[in-house]
Amino acid sequence: MELTRRDAIIAAFAGGGVTAFATFGQTEGLLQSRNETTELGDAEMRTLVATAEVIYPSAISGIETFVENYISALPPSQQGLVASVTDELRSHTRNVRGRDFPNLSIGERNSVLRTMGVDRVGSDAYGTLPERVRYYVVNQLLYGVYTSPTGSRLVGIQNPVGHPGGYESYQNHPENPQSDAD
């Protein structure tokens, strides 16, 4: 299924993006206090796209455009947090693999994440590096795709929780979803 720009913008907006995210109070102070805020640049975006290619189902296409639109639509404070942790992931990858994360194959990227323990820890905005990668990178990307209709249609849901697709779809017969909820 092809992810669209609309998927990305609505997912980001619904999750507090654009103007809706005037305050990202609690977590904003976290990395600022460590002087670790980072501007989201090409390197960070390439790393996020490279991560999405690992954690998104292969049935999804248009990942690069979706991730760029979704992350760019997040409020600046949240982008900064995502970018900071993404940079930490890049540094870690260079240390253990000698190359930048996006330059690895999908299998190697998968291995980096799993060797770090990102798949075995809970997500924690204030936690260890694997926990923060799970929170700000992996789960941020999963949140974006599975609160979009294109992602949720992979499991037969037109208007997933977290997506403002109107209140008609819940009335539909399960085998005849007439409503195009996006």
Binding site: F13, A14, G15, G16, G17, T19, A20, F21, A22, T23, F24, G25, V54, I55, Y56, P57, S58, A59, N110, R114, D119, R120, V121, G122, S123, D124, Y135, V138, N139, L142, Y143, V145, Y146, T147, G151, S152, L154, V155, G156, I157, Q158, N159, P160, V161, G162, H163, P164, G165, G166, Y167, E168, S169, Y170, Q171, N172, H173, P174, E175, P177, A181
Partner: protein
Amino acid sequence: MQTDRTPSENPDVCVVGSGVAGALVAYSLARRNHDVVLLEAGRRFDLAERGRQLEEALRPSRDINDIWDMGGERDQFTSSGDIYYGLNNTRVKAVGGTTLHWLGITPRFHEKDFEMNTRYGLASDWPISYEDLRPYYAEAEEELGVAGSSDNPFAPPRETGFPMPAFPPSYSDSLFADACDDLGITMHSVPQARNSETYDDRSQCVGFSICIPVCPSGAKYSADVHIRKAEEHGARVIDRAPVQRLDHDSRGERVEAAMYATPDGARHRQTADRFVLACGAVETPRLLLLSTSDTYPDGLANSSGVVGNYFMDHPIVSVTAELDQPTNQEPIGFHTRESHQFYDHDDPTPGSIKLVFDNHNPANPAEMAMRGGDSGVRGDLTDVLTGDSWGDAVLEKMRGATPNRTVRLFASPEVLPRQGNTVELDRSKTDNHGNPVPDITFSVGSHGRETMAHCREIQRDILDELGATVVSESSLENPRVASHKMGTTRMGVDPDTSVVTPELRSHDLENLFIASSSVFVTGGAMNPTLTIAALALKLADYIHSDT
């Protein structure tokens, strides 16, 4: 961000608490030119934060109390009864109060709920009737914005239609309809304070499907709506200002001041001509019990000794079952059909039942994917060994949980007020200001137990007729509660057995009033919020006419 938290100078009315009761009292008085100041223990949440709160609510790492900054030293409590009472899951301390995370269901109480002793010889009658409250119910429905329909043959009499049309039935409602038809059970729409169309400058429901714990669109009513309106009419709201105690005059006849704390560590003294406590059925009695003096060693407004007694809530009775066909695939976050057929009863026991046909869909793709395809915490426990799935593997796991084939019924049964169900002070534990925390004692008596059992019988009959296989049932012994806190400062005409008069004025102090579900004499089986709102509007009229 508020910086001036110093007291207002000689306001007409000081309201304590900014939930639906406090907000409506403040608004109703401020728009009639009364000088109102409102003290709220929690902080103000900007509407712009709701997107972040939505994301937090869906992330598996979140605790539900984090969404509205609940928990911590400020909100400590203890639970002592037969049934554990998880108080902080049932309330929000913030500008807007618990309506910030409520479901939004707004039925009226029935006539019988006010006449339990006369009709059945149970508990006590309210000192007011449905007819006394009826015009205020209509006003409350207008203020909150209630979507509903006149298709409920069991509803009490009403004078006008609802402000908005009801939400249509879900697909699973249609499955239940055939079974209920065969059993002679009538289903009908559900009145709820959720916009089915644009109303009061708020959006219609846009289907985020996450009414609890936060409505990102503002389509679901929350009391911050009336806080904003009150402020537009000149009311002043001081947030992060928990009231520590109330002081009275030398004769013990009038409250003189509310003593409150502010984040800078200062203490302030807010005087006013009148005081309205609107802090719900736990913090209202707690504040009265904390306000001891030589004149009132057992707490303020407590000459009856019943402050904190008769605490009530509705224990939830639910059954989840599976069908051999797909049921709801699309989430919505609220239910759209109920039956009040079992509400008015002839014999005293079993009591009233409100039966709910849930729009059950456990599949939440974002949450499942972030959990690595696990359906809950139990799955997370094995992650440390096996690792989570992502990519195609997680999609396969998620597809294994779809299509949804489950349906669910739940019900709230009537329980009677019991003097031994209490909110007291636990002096062994203190909050962030050194005050004893509330201790909740809650149990269900024989009337409630029989009514719960009757709920379960009805639910099983419907599921049998539907041909569904029961997969789980809620515990009748240790039920979850519906977060409908009631009782504890009940109204009555006898100062020896009640705390406030029918006008909601303290029997003991002439300028102290209470607007809260704490004044309920009995609790019926209906969601209490519309009745809280109606009582608040009635109280505001009384204060206005009394000045």
